[in-house]
Symmetry: C2
């Protein structure tokens, strides 16, 4: 396991490339939840999500030779944009494999950040083949969006900042998608918190992490018919053991609870967040007794939304 000192070094290393995002509170949401909530606003992070942290750390950890040859990933979401932008900041080529079915707006965003897109058929097999082909041709290094230790450590730095500002948090709640954010957060809570527990929030519609913790092995999502489209991905062999060891529990929430929490955050906190981010508040509001009178950190994971497709 990473030491506290090593974790601090990760944070120092990525600082020049990321924003130190604000922590926001809301009197109304405290009243509604009965808890003291501290929202770490990664929607204000560069390119709009915490993924900048992990992508930056992974690239900075490569050797000079590796950096020159570039990085490759397959993602249709925030990680594609994060890897493109962080690679651009560090002056490294970024090759992004995206399914041909990905929304044009996402492709444009990746291009805007300087990523070189290769389109492929929308199956995992085809994605992996396309990434491998690029690696063979360019000598670039594959960076997984969530199942990569450097990515996991990078994502954990949001919780380090949150705990520096609020050292006596008793709980931190994060959404669970591919597992990188929650694993990094749990490591940060372990090292930088004072007996601070980490809790995951997940839609019932994509409850692979909940079921994986129950069964003791990585379970797959089946339908994943959720508004929280960032949470459809599943855990990996690097982050799952950390989650098993350090995450107290996963709370599952219904779609209507996600919409209600999203509406509260937009209307009352006046910030634009992704549906995935709202699952964490939804979990707190669903199981209020668990959080009553406690100091609770909530990681607002990102703010990249398609305004044409809002659930309101």
């Amino acid at each position: 396991m990473i030491t506290k000192q090593e974790f601090s070094t990760v944070h120092e290393r990525i600082k020049p490339y990321i924003h130190h995002t604000p922590v926001i509170t809301s009197r109304l949401l405290n009243e509604l939840s009965g808890a003291n909530l501290f929202f770490k606003c990664e929607n204000f992070q560069r390119m709009g999500a915490f993924k900048m942290r992990g992508a930056t750390n992974a690239i900075l950890n490569l050797t000079k030779e590796q950096q020159e040859k570039g990085v490759v990933t397959h993602s249709s979401g925030n990680f594609a944009q994060a890897l493109s932008l962080s690679a651009k900041s560090i002056d490294v080529p970024a090759y992004i494999v995206m399914p041909s079915t990905a929304p044009q707006v996402k492709k444009e965003a990746v291009k805007g950040y300087g990523g070189k897109i290769t389109e492929c058929s929308p199956t995992l097999d085809e994605r992996e083949k396309a990434a491998e082909k690029i690696m063979n041709e360019t000598g670039s290094t594959f960076i997984h969006p969530s199942n990569d230790m450097d990515v996991i450590y990078g994502q954990g730095t949001a919780a380090i900042e949150l705990l520096q500002e609020q050292p006596d948090l008793e709980l931190i709640v994060t959404p669970v998608g591919g597992g990188g954010l929650i694993a990094g957060t749990a490591l940060a809570a372990h090292h930088f918190g004072k007996n601070c527990k980490t809790i995951g929030a997940e839609p019932f519609e994509a409850d692979d992490a909940y079921r994986s913790l129950q069964s003791g092995k990585i379970e797959e999502n089946e339908s994943a018919n959720t508004l929280a489209d960032g949470l459809k991905t599943q855990l990996g062999d690097k982050n799952f053991p950390i989650i098993q060891e350090l995450v107290s529990e996963i709370i599952r929430v219904e779609e209507k609870e996600i919409v209600a929490a999203l509406k509260l955050i937009w209307e009352r906190m006046k910030i634009v967040v992704e549906p995935s981010s709202a699952t964490a508040l939804a979990a707190v509001l669903r199981e209020k007794e668990k959080f009553k009178d406690k100091k609770v950190g909530i990681i607002i994971s990102g703010g990249n939304v398609d305004l044409q497709k809002l659930p309101f």
Copy 2:
């Protein structure tokens, strides 16, 4: 005219009752505009708009006897909520005259903040009659939402804070509705800026301020068919002379420019703002040459939106 010292006293007096809101910058919006933009985020103000400042100052300026008898206004917008909440904070009764046609959600908000609602027919005449009746019955004091010197001074404190943080702003742009915000801002820029000009932004659809400055007398809006529903009100005899003296110009913007600016603010800055607030950015983007390479403050007036009625 208020002195700088008196203005500082206003600010000190209301401080315990308001939030000191953050100033946000956006690299992307700087690139798009060619200017250095500093957004004063009154969408994060208590009850979601700058109106808290003016309402609070007006109530604090009343005598103890007046305060005990309460305050009354007619408004269906943010000022109704602001007067209700600031009155509640100061422990003063607030009577709010609202047209029976006002959306239920606005009535609920006023009630939630403790305002006592009297409904009337949706004409100015009926509103004034209803307000007068309340004043006669309760001895309460009428507070106008924008044409009241204490309200104007209170609204100006947002620009004082902005100029304390960015003392060398060359321009400040605000939306123009009833004229309270821009008059207060112009006074603040005059006293606290270093040759800082104030510019108004207004929809073509509600360009009463633009035409009033042209003609030299207060002009009325005719259709006011604008998305920026906070800007349909018109100037008053107290704020108009200040605007005539201290506002450099009014820039008018088209509805589609308001929507585009709104989308930029939501998508890129990740904050929820009202359409009225977006007119200021729309004005900067419409007349880029005027703002090129300048340090420009923008007052984001509020963030109270109906998520069911978005223009996206």
